[in-house]
């Protein structure tokens, strides 16, 4: 007789058009195709099934079989993965995503033992989108910029005033001048039309935000071997695919911003970049100290992050 179709519920928290959901739909299509229709993936974008902060535990409880979550939304809970979110600078998303994935693969952190990791990826390296031009490091002083979590920390060290606020408040806050800009990956210039307000971009590229896609352990164990193989084979490939998609998407957003709103893209002078890197160094030291206290050999992990990044940059750096 015909084998029963396996249904997998895949939950995601941001709205459907954003890149974590785009990669979710791609993954769903690929798995359905590669298993010859044996598996059907039902997707739940926009936090309708599980919200951003309920995602990880919701997957453990089995509310969704698969969930995409952001470890930095649970500060302190995933100390090893935090290494990738430190301000060390990444040339592009492909390198950052694979650095995260390979680091996970090598260290297999115990904070993720309760789930099966499906894939991991990062957002594109973050830059400053501003209403006022920031041409030198000295221009940063006291400027209010929206930044969340770990991004706020590095921004503060550079002299700016980080402002925490929900993303939904950002357009109005920008328009009214509550904030002068935001630190984020650049696709939002086009996707959320931030180019309407921000006519200047200052390149920084220090940090990324990590995402992890995890599966309920019982669901994983119940899957047939061939399906498991399809998912395992797809995991690193998916990380690279997402990185490539993101890089292309960001390039497109930059071109669009230049063409539609004549946005100026600013590079800080090299001596300022050197100084900026020195300024954010205490953040990495603080991380190492904190992670060590949590039982993570953080100096070794950090060393791995640097060497993975450089190795991958040689292959995938543009």
């Amino acid at each position: 007789g015909e084998a029963k179709v396996i249904k997998l519920r895949y939950a995601n928290f941001p709205p459907a058009p954003t890149f974590p959901c785009v990669q979710m739909e791609r993954w769903a299509r690929e798995v359905e195709k590669r298993t010859g229709g044996k598996v059907k993936v039902e997707t739940y974008p926009g936090g309708t099934l599980l919200g951003a902060k309920n995602m990880f535990d919701g997957v453990i409880a089995g509310t969704a079989d698969i969930g995409c979550f952001c470890p930095s939304y649970h500060p302190g809970r995933f100390p090893l993965l935090e290494a990738v979110d430190q301000p060390i600078g990444y040339p592009n998303t492909k390198v950052a995503s694979l650095t995260l994935f390979d680091l996970y693969r090598k260290w297999q952190p115990k904070s993720l033992k309760k789930v099966k990791v499906v894939t991991m990826f990062t957002c594109a390296p973050t830059h400053l989108m501003m209403k006022v031009p920031l041409r030198r490091l000295g221009d940063f002083k006291g400027v209010e910029i929206r930044a969340a979590g770990t991004l706020a920390k590095s921004l503060g060290l550079l002299g700016a005033t980080p402002v925490a606020m929900p993303m939904s408040d950002v357009p109005e806050a920008l328009q009214k001048g509550v904030i002068k800009g935001l630190l984020s990956s650049l696709e939002v210039m086009k996707d959320f039309k931030f180019a309407e307000y921000c006519r200047y971009v200052t390149y920084l590229g220090f940090q990324v935000v990590s995402f992890a896609v995890v599966m309920n352990k019982d669901t994983w164990n119940s899957l047939p071997k061939d399906v498991q193989k399809v998912i395992d084979d797809l995991s690193r490939e998916q990380a690279l695919w997402t990185g490539r998609y993101m890089d292309d998407h960001v390039k497109e957003a930059i071109e669009w911003s230049k063409k539609t709103y004549n946005v100026e893209f600013i590079k800080l002078p090299p001596e300022d970049m050197v100084k900026a890197k020195k300024l954010v160094k205490p953040m990495i030291d603080a991380y190492i100290k904190r992670a060590k206290a949590a039982g993570v050999p953080a100096d070794k992990v950090m060393k791995d992050v640097y060497s993975l990044r450089d190795k991958l940059a040689a292959k995938y750096g543009d």
Partner: protein, 168 residues
């Protein structure tokens, strides 16, 4: 308990206002958003029991108000029992969640402070609500029970009184 809830409400107003003034004049309070959110949790959860004790929750009584009085009372006390059980479960689950947050060492996003005490606070508020519901259920149970158990006693008292009257 309501004092803590009220104090949290006033504090919440203070922080939100303070943040606004400071942002316009100087720099915003770090983590004002998370603090206001955590205090909001205390405000709402500590008011749960009080609101229920005043029967302050909206219900649809268009059909039930046409039931006979006895059936209405029965349905009401059944509600209290079911909701009491449900909120006992919720209190337990929120408490479990608080323990998870505590054990995994999760801290708040901006201030990096442990926030599990607030989560335990919500669990406590839910527990008090369950308690209020159980008490309301017991109260509804005692009245008809009293009628039954007090029945023979009342008969005896009545006959005694009548005998006394006759004696006079």
């Amino acid at each position: 308990m309501m004092r803590i809830g009220g104090a949290a409400l006033v504090l919440m107003m203070g922080i939100a206002c303070g943040n606004m003034f400071l942002r316009v004049l100087w720099v915003p309070i770090k983590g004002s958003y998370e603090l206001v959110g955590f205090l909001g949790a205390v405000v709402t959860s500590f008011a749960l029991g009080y609101t229920q004790s005043k029967r302050g929750h909206i219900a649809v009584d268009i059909v039930v108000s046409r039931y006979p009085k006895r059936l209405q009372e029965f349905v009401e006390s059944l509600n209290d029992l079911v909701c009491g059980l449900f909120f006992a479960i919720i209190a337990w689950q929120v408490g479990k969640w608080a323990t998870t947050v505590w054990r995994t060492g999760e801290v708040s996003e901006t201030l990096r402070i442990p926030f599990y005490p607030f989560t335990y606070g919500v669990a406590f508020g839910c527990g008090v609500l369950a308690l209020v519901l159980f008490l309301q259920f017991l109260k509804a149970l005692i009245v008809p029970l009293g009628r039954i158990t007090m029945g023979p006693y009342r008969l005896m008292m009545d006959s005694l009184r009548q005998r006394n009257r006759r004696k006079r």
